[in-house]
Amino acid sequence: MTGDDVLRSTERLAEIAALDLLSPEVDAILQELVARASERLGLPTALVSIVLDEAQYFLAHHGLGGWQAEARGTPVEWSFCAHAVRSGRPFVVEDATTHPLTRDNPQVTLEDLRCYAGVPLVSARGQVLGTLCVAGTEAHTFSDDDLAALRALAAEAVSRLEARRKPAAGHQTVSS
């Protein structure tokens, strides 16, 4: 499966729909986690981003302003998080102006994104939904402890999102 095939996989998009991730109330569930990520990593911006087929959607954001906050996402071709979803592994960029996958990205050439670390959000059914990530406007070195902290916050985010999953038809609990 190519990178774009992963992003466009009907099974992955169906998982995003099944978890009702794009519902407005999800923001409140995750807001504390993005604030903690920003504080723990000492970077101005933190996001929970779900990567759709043709765009990324910010479920929750901290420190984001301008058109990206208003649009609540970006086209997928500008998404750093999409790299983590394609590979299923953390994506770390210490200086986006020199990284081969990001140096030509408009978020770098026309905006001020310079550093990024994102950890995949993997559902209980094994689908990579998006990332919990941090970003900044200056080059930055990320430590193993930083990535461990992001992994822990990403696990908590998935746990909170999974708690909203509706029981499958025919498996609903009947209260007496």
């Binding site: 729909a17 794009l22 759709l52 087929d53 959607y57 058109w67 649009a71 996402g73 970006t74 086209p75």
Partner: protein, 96 residues
Amino acid sequence: MTADTRLPGYDLARPTPADATAFLARAMSADQAVRTWLRACREAGVAPHAAMGVDDMLAAARRLAAEPDVAGVIGNALVIRLRTYRLLSQAQGAGR
């Protein structure tokens, strides 16, 4: 996507109805994709045609985004692309 609508620097073209049906057709048959898009346009109260403007496209995409299944996810992605295009084109227009 046509080249003449691309935003300078961002290389982002204005999303079109052809884009919408192409995105939907990855998850359903081509006929179903067209029917789904036309239904979204009808329910949004906009006329479907090849040269739909951003506002009409956005109205139909928002209707599509309200679907509870994969079509809704695809609709949400289209909404973000349209919002991004509109916001950046407004900003570039304001800067000229």
